[in-house]
Amino acid sequence: MLELLQYEFMQNAFIAAVLVSVACGMVGTYVVVKKIVSISGGISHAAFGGIGLGYLIGINPIVAAIPFSIFSALSIGFINKRIKISEDTAIGILWTTGMALGIIFINLSPGYAPDLFSYLFGSILTVPDSDLTLMLILDIVIIIIVFLFNREFIAISFDEEFSKTIGIKVEPLYLLLLCLVALSVVVLIKVVGVILVIALLSIPAAISMQYTSSINKVMTFSVIIGLVLNILGLWLSYIFNLASGATIVIILGLTFIISSLITKYW
């Protein structure tokens, strides 16, 4: 496996796996404990609108996805707290409207959209240096936000009403948390694609929660589990010539099943 690292695309894929693990381990932990897996699914699919917009106006689709997914995160958060429709419905609307916008934008774009497939399903073997830099910057932003607001995120995930009584501004912090999800979606898009992002945001944390009752440890374990499984998936997809995003997700899913069986019957 090590000799593979002499290829530049493999080095990039390896770095991408590391960057992705940080985002999915840290933010994924909140996604799981705050039970915002479906909201995060909505945000990640809506990000496809941003990808389409990128093609249309001729900028890097990943860059265009940043404001787009932040906007969809904020709107779902707002709808959730302010307007009287069920969260479920709001997610459904956002999810599909975002994707539909992406399709229309791509329709309107001149010519043919190269590597569209990689934004939908991911392609860890073709991450360019520029995207790695962007992912690194987003990771740093994520780490800083987690570091600064970890206590508040834990409190609002545990009990929103009590959080208000100790002086936490629940609504802005919830919106900030959704923005954090939006940023990690962008980090993950290149590796697993908008459709499979949610696997990386939920499975590593779900596995970790089977082994510890400390949220900070869940975070650390998730980063490590994410890293190991991403690299395993990457390697398997390379040797069997399979789609990398899907291989990684299947590895994650299988590990979750095995881990559940072990914790249940061991």
């Binding site: 404990v33 545990f158 009990d159 959080s163 009584t165 100790i166 510890t212 009752s213 400390s214 869940v218």
Partner: protein
């Protein structure tokens, strides 16, 4: 700081357009221990939540040691009547209690906060469970942890919404003894249906059934106190309006 621990004037609260609290007036001094009794749906929890700024009143004024409810949150400790959380939440007893020490953005928990938590858990006899995951406790033990979370705040005003609802008699007694001790340092409002306890420990009592009927404990023989307390029991039992209460004054 004002010496009045709590001043409520002319408070009206409605939820979904129905009036829950009507013209509430209440004054508490520092170190007062007030019990609020009253029928289910009378608005006891609503009153506590309004003091905590969880519910905005339609009109009226609340001041806690001279501060408005929003500013007063860091000097109020609160035990909710119900706490809903995900039983799989990865958090242990110590860290749940530590949330009671929260004191604003960018202020990390200190050694002092940890000491206060240890102390509070000790006071409710839950220290030996400090590393347990929260869902691995019995209902009453969980309740004691939430009491500890309120105590850990070392508040000036302690609001307890039916604290002993699922706590065994032995623990109840030691809990009320603890409240008597805490009263030296803070003002306590206790919502309870346990009128027997009310007689034994509190200084003041109020009955809340949309309007608040406030009653200081008369100084006098145990008998007289007993009589006074039969009164609210009857009121609760039969839903007779508060006019009956007034006769005793």
């Amino acid at each position: 700081m004002s010496d009045k621990a709590l001043e409520i004037e002319n408070l009206y609260v409605s939820i979904n357009k129905s009036i829950i609290l009507k013209d509430i007036n209440l004054n508490l001094d520092k170190n007062d221990f007030l019990a609020i009794i009253g029928p289910n749906g009378g608005g006891k929890s609503t009153l506590l939540k309004t003091i905590l700024n969880l519910i905005r009143p339609d009109k009226g004024n609340i001041s806690v040691f001279g501060k408005n409810p929003k500013e007063a949150l860091n000097i109020i400790g609160y035990l909710p009547q119900n706490t809903f959380f995900d039983l799989n939440f990865p958090i242990n007893v110590f860290n749940v209690t530590l949330m009671g020490r929260y004191n604003g953005l960018f202020k990390n928990y200190t050694q002092n906060d940890r000491k206060a938590v240890i102390n509070a858990l000790d006071e409710v006899s839950m220290l030996e469970y400090k590393d347990r995951q929260i869902s691995e406790l019995s209902g009453g033990q969980m309740q004691r942890v939430f009491i500890a979370r309120a105590l850990a705040r070392e508040p000036e005003l302690l609001l307890l919404d039916e604290p002993t609802a699922s706590v065994d008699p032995k623990m109840q007694k030691s809990f009320y003894e603890l409240l008597l001790k805490l009263k030296e340092k803070m003002t306590i409002i206790l919502v309870t249906h346990d009128v027997g306890v009310v007689c034994e420990y509190v200084d003041k009592i109020a009955c809340l059934n949309h309007i608040l009927f406030y009653h200081g404990i008369p100084e006098g023989s145990a008998d007289a106190i007993g009589k006074t307390y039969n009164c609210p029991i009857d009121i609760i039992g039969h839903g007779i309006p508060h006019r009956v209460f007034k006769k005793h004054e």
